[in-house]
Amino acid sequence: MDKSGIIKPAISLAIFCLFIVIFYFLIGEDKTELPSVLIDQPAPNFEVQNLTREGVVHTQEDFKGKITLLNVWASWCPSCYVEHPYWKNYALNKDLTLVGLNYRDKKKKALKFLREQGDFFHWNLFDENGRLGIEFGVYGAPETFLIDPKGKIRYRHVGVVTPEVYQNKLLPLIDKIKKGF
């Protein structure tokens, strides 16, 4: 094939460099992390029993009018034991309503968890078969969703919500929501 001077080599080398750069930046990224596709979508409709109070049923309407942190947890999830004590501090934030989503757990074990680790949630949803989790696109525990007063999901965090995550990722967004955005 003809060589069109310097253009063809330049393009080839440019594409090559581009790939190397892309690969370089992709190294080290957590490949298991899945971004949520529900950001800025309304929370899914549901009707789920309360974990601790018999006969009480919750729906997505219960998220309206408040800023909610929905935490997906389970007694079989090791990281949840690490994360749970942090919620005690986050509960001090009067702007927030903390809701637990007990995911694919046995009621007895879940209640035991709350008894032993403490219950810092305003209420807990009992998602025994995991279907509610699937509605939220949950693929593991712990996961935490930030839901605004209109009932829209604004953020999802996969993994433990450490104080760093709370400070750097959640609080700024909560601020924004408070200001009406």
């Binding site: 899945l34 009707e47 789920v48 279907r131 699937i134």
Partner: protein
């Protein structure tokens, strides 16, 4: 006032709650209709396990995969179409869960890339061939 869809959804969830599973991994999905069985096979091959290392639902034994397979099973029995089931999964887990990439505008390059490559190649080749022919007859 609830719409009909919302009512059905609520009843469906209630139904699921009443007959929820005891956390026991049952893998057998029985269909009377072989066509449904085939569709089940196809769908579970096309859907990706969201938390595995590149496995489809059919091959994966993770709890989430079992849950999702169960959902596919129920939806097939309920008469939903393949598109509806795939859309259900995509709305919750994103395009990542589809092993068969959508034929959408954003994926245009993916589906047309190879054809374009081949065409460009052939065009370049013919131009070269016609310009550089030099056959000496014996």
């Amino acid at each position: 006032m609830l719409t009909i869809t919302q009512t059905i959804k609520r009843l469906f969830m209630l139904f699921l709650l009443l007959f929820s599973f005891n956390g026991f991994a049952i893998e057998v999905y029985e269909f009377d209709d072989p066509i449904l069985a085939d569709r089940f096979k196809e769908l579970t091959y096309e859907l990706r396990c969201p938390k595995c290392q590149n496995q489809n639902l059919a091959d994966s034994n993770s709890e989430l995969s079992l849950d999702l397979k169960q959902i596919v099973y129920e939806k097939l029995k309920a008469g939903e179409s393949d598109e509806e089931i795939l859309l259900f999964m995509k709305h919750r887990y994103g395009e990542f869960i589809l092993f068969n990439p959508e034929m959408s505008k954003s994926n245009a390059l993916l589906w047309t890339g190879p054809i374009i490559f081949l065409m460009v190649f052939i065009i370049f080749f013919f131009r070269w061939y016609l310009k550089n022919r030099e056959i000496s007859d014996e």
